[in-house]
Symmetry: C2
């Protein structure tokens, strides 16, 4: 934490701290639970009466989660915060502030840092999340760790462990689009912040955590269990089921696949793109996966603020995961999403 | 956060998560503000009535903050938590829980991880700090980031900004010992957890954050300003002064230098070791630097639970930092502590 206070001993670090302080000021909200921000040993945070703090942290590492030469620094700034905020959304909470741990090479303390902070500030404003502190150091590779602190009404958070046999299983949005966006990014050259109009590319670079939806589902006790989809449905669903001590049956035909243009479609058909496979296994979507008791399903709209809410299957007593194919045949759902330790 | 939930897809990660869950169970305290720990999207934390949460995070990176071949994994586990807890101590707070972000090579998920977690659990028990969650991934170098959440009575935290001209300046303990311990470590071979009796080495490997002292100084409103010494007095004091808008005059002869044995003394004299220089510039001590109004100085004991509390100078209106030598001559105090961006 200490290096976020002004340090007169070195121009390079002084400059870095000044930039972070400026970003912090841009994110200061009028009404905030943050009592003390950057510049002391630690930050102070007081949840409002009757509310609990939600705590989550996420790595965002060069070479593991992003590529310096492919990912715009502005998108790195947006996404490192957005993906941690998604964990707050998955609990039904409201993000309040974050701590930024940043390790940078000297060569990135100029333009790269400016653009990174511009993306971070844009995300912080969008999510109502102020910069409360952090830690900085020098490193050959860019290392980022973000801790987000949110708030939720005590007892109203949606956990992974609440799913019960018979509950319906839902997802928000379309799955596999971010993965497809990443493939586009690695194929293309010369992508700059100005020319990103492709929705798949935007979904990969600028994910939008489902904060309002999560808050609505948890606050109104519609969702019996909830989590965000960061590693892909086939890898994340087993986690929800394990936490709840249940299984699930997913209908492949119902899983909302990526929406692609005719031109992309033609190209993908050539390449034999498996859109259902992408929807099942693609990571980085930051959509919500949630379960709803059948008796409450009628309260759920087909879409929430333009985001489709799709029933894709049901929770079962048997603790296995089944995928029902278009032919009606059942097979085991294999976890094929993102796993850093798979070889 | 997500990978801290059980994931059945891969044995290596499964194993890693199981070890972290076991460590988490060992640290579960009976009375805790942590409402939900490892295994969901995020953790829940509710400060007790009338208390605020304190938030801090710290990098602990292989090659930057520790060396894999020199630092015992057990000491890495202890120290990564201890140094973040020190920021809580510096605010006058009580540590409650922490989030652990861990990036490991496959080769470190066996014995190295076991010993690392043993040290972490030992530190967590000592500091009353439970493991509430985190994030894991695979990486060639060992990367650690720790977020600690503490509690403090609202309005009773000790900030860096409260020092006023005329206040006396104090430090706890002896400064420069951890730096000397690090030099011993790099000189010696074959140091194992069993044979660490040298107090200098222990101070470097197993720092003890001054939680009880910080709590006493802040809770009784003895300290007008406080911070922990992580980067060295000559680098940290300017931060406290900048936050308070003041300067300081330090008497070199009063700064408590490292305590060394006769044998070490002889060796160090040979090498012309500058003990005062070590006390002024050595980092990693995690002692407290604090200011006290003259009218309250009488309430301060000479030592607190065996830790000496030493007056080393005073706060001045003039915003510069002066060092008074043994000859009574004043010169500017140069920041020569740890600075990752210095070349």
């Amino acid at each position: 934490m200490q290096v976020m206070a002004r340090n007169r001993t070195n121009k390079s670090e002084d400059n870095l701290i000044r930039k972070l302080e400026t970003a912090g000021r841009k994110l200061r909200t009028r009404k905030s639970s943050v009592r003390l921000g950057i510049g002391d040993d630690a930050a102070l945070f007081a949840p409002a009466a009757g509310r609990e703090a939600i705590l989550t942290c996420d790595w965002f590492l060069e070479g593991t989660h992003f590529l310096r030469e492919k990912h715009l620094p502005e998108a790195v700034g947006w996404k490192c915060l957005a993906r941690a905020v998604s964990d707050i959304a998955a609990m039904g909470g409201t993000p309040r502030c974050f701590l930024l741990s940043l390790a940078l090479p000297d060569s990135c303390t100029g333009v790269w840092l400016d653009e990174f902070l511009a993306g971070l500030v844009r995300a912080g404003r969008k999510f109502g999340c102020s910069l409360a502190g952090g830690d900085t150091t020098r490193r050959r590779k860019i290392l980022i760790n973000v801790t987000v602190i949110g708030e939720v009404r005590a007892g109203r958070s949606a956990l992974r462990s609440g799913a019960r046999p018979g509950d319906l299983l839902f997802v928000s949005g379309h799955l596999g689009e971010a993965e497809l966006g990443f493939r586009l990014l690695t194929e293309r050259k010369g992508i700059t912040a100005g020319n990103i109009t492709d929705p798949l590319l935007r979904k990969h670079l600028y994910p939008e955590p489902r904060v309002a939806l999560g808050h609505w589902l948890a606050g109104n006790r519609i969702a019996s269990a909830m989590m965000d989809l960061s590693d892909g449905l086939s890898t994340d669903l087993p986690r929800l089921c394990a936490a709840s001590g249940v299984g699930a049956r997913v209908e492949a035909a119902r899983v909302p696949a990526p929406r692609i243009s005719d031109a992309q479609s033609a190209k993908h058909t050539e390449k034999n793109f498996d859109l259902v496979g992408l929807a099942l296994n693609g990571g980085d979507d930051y959509e919500l996966l949630f379960t709803v008791k059948r008796s409450k399903a009628g309260r759920l709209p087909r879409s929430f603020r333009g985001i489709p809410l799709t029933p894709i299957g049901e929770i079962t007593r048997a603790r296995n995961l089944l995928l029902v194919g278009p032919d009606g045949k059942e097979k085991a759902l294999q976890g094929r999403g993102w796993d850093p330790f798979r070889k």
